[in-house]
Symmetry: C2
Subunit: 232 residues, 2 copies
């Protein structure tokens, strides 16, 4: 399997390129609008054909490249049925997206948002904003629910083998990967806590409103189409 981690330094977002080295079919997970040219060039340089764009959720902090990539490559866009209405294919828990011999299993992991999906492929799990390295996504907007987030992290992701490599949707401290076993032991949001204590902790975070929320969410529900500014 080909697996590449790509970074957007403005929003600290990770995009992932996954491909079958034989058939040269590829998937991009959470591509960022500002990096369409970088990502298309990388696909071309590696001789890969983009078949699917997957979204872990409707993002509030950056605009997706899914729509542009679909237009320019014919790739199918996929996300949770609770997420963006614009996508070609709605995924539910357990659905498998295949490129060649590479099987990517969608895991419903709501809580940060109600449409949260993680993607399990080989010994890796792409956790979106559900589980971050030594952290987790917030749960105070977009139908977030701290109880559901606890259940997704501890019930779904922590059920994977301890040596599964965690590849998050963001990182703000310079980490690029972790493992399920490590996050079970030392993730300060969940280690040593129960569900009630986690909900209490998340309710007390008092985080500022995401700067791009009002632009990014509607744009991402339209696969990255940013609404034109209305003439007054």
């Amino acid at each position: 399997m080909i697996l590449r981690q790509l970074f957007d330094s403005d929003s600290s977002t990770y995009t992932y390129l996954i491909a079958d080295p034989t058939t040269r079919e590829a998937v991009l997970v959470d591509p960022v609008l500002e990096h369409v040219e970088r990502d298309l060039k990388l696909l071309a340089e590696l001789g890969l054909e983009l078949r699917y764009v997957l979204e872990t959720h409707v993002h509030a902090d950056h605009v997706t490249a899914a729509g542009q990539l679909r237009e320019r490559t014919g790739a199918r866009t996929c996300a949770s049925g609770a997420g963006a209405p614009c996508v070609d294919q709605h995924l539910k828990d357990g659905d498998v997206v295949r490129v060649g011999d590479v099987a990517i299993t969608a895991l419903a992991t709501p809580g940060h948002t109600d449409d949260g999906m993680s993607f399990h492929v080989g010994r890796y799990v792409l956790t979106g904003d559900t589980l971050l390295i030594r952290g987790c996504g917030r749960a105070d907007f977009q139908n977030g629910d701290a109880g559901a987030l606890w259940d997704s992290i501890t019930g779904v992701l922590f059920a994977l083998p301890d040596d599964t490599v965690v590849l998050p949707g963001h990182d703000y401290k310079g980490f690029t990967s972790s493992t399920i076993g490590e996050e079970k032991r030392v993730n300060p949001r969940v280690a040593g806590r129960d569900r009630a204590a986690f909900i209490e902790l998340m309710a007390a975070l008092n985080l500022p409103r995401p700067k791009k929320l009002d632009v990014a969410v509607p744009a991402n529900r339209a696969c990255g189409k940013v609404a034109p500014i209305q003439a007054s």
Copy 2:
């Protein structure tokens, strides 16, 4: 083998943690002064003992954490004999640094600076500033030499198997890894050029002087000890 890539967003520097999963002995390559606490915490969380700090070269764009890590952990610092005089062990081409069953081979790759070293471990090569993803280090200060850089890239690094994973010392575009085969084919600095054309290209770059040069180089020659500001 445990291998973690860590990032400093201020200087776009990658630090690498390499460890033997059985003996729990670890190496840090190119640690950054501002991240001493992050890196020590990560070592503790993973139950690792830092044995060596390796430098790919005397950096001009950030200050090393080598000296502080040595003081706080007892780790030995290692770098090219042409580099920082402060280190405990001078490495020459072909020297091997071992932690448990993990053998890290030093490859002399001068050119960006005269003390450039790459580190080959398993199917990975840490290329410092010699080979970057779709680029290479500049060769216009610290005894840089574009001809030597060409020889290091094409003669030393490109002699490794094509599927060797390239882990660079920096990236400015959001790439985290590449392969030797890929850089041979599409690295715009070297693909389709000969040595003379490469030297000509490097001479014409006209890059600005690195902002931190005057602070970072003397500090790094002292393993990260920043000179106190003189009273006037």
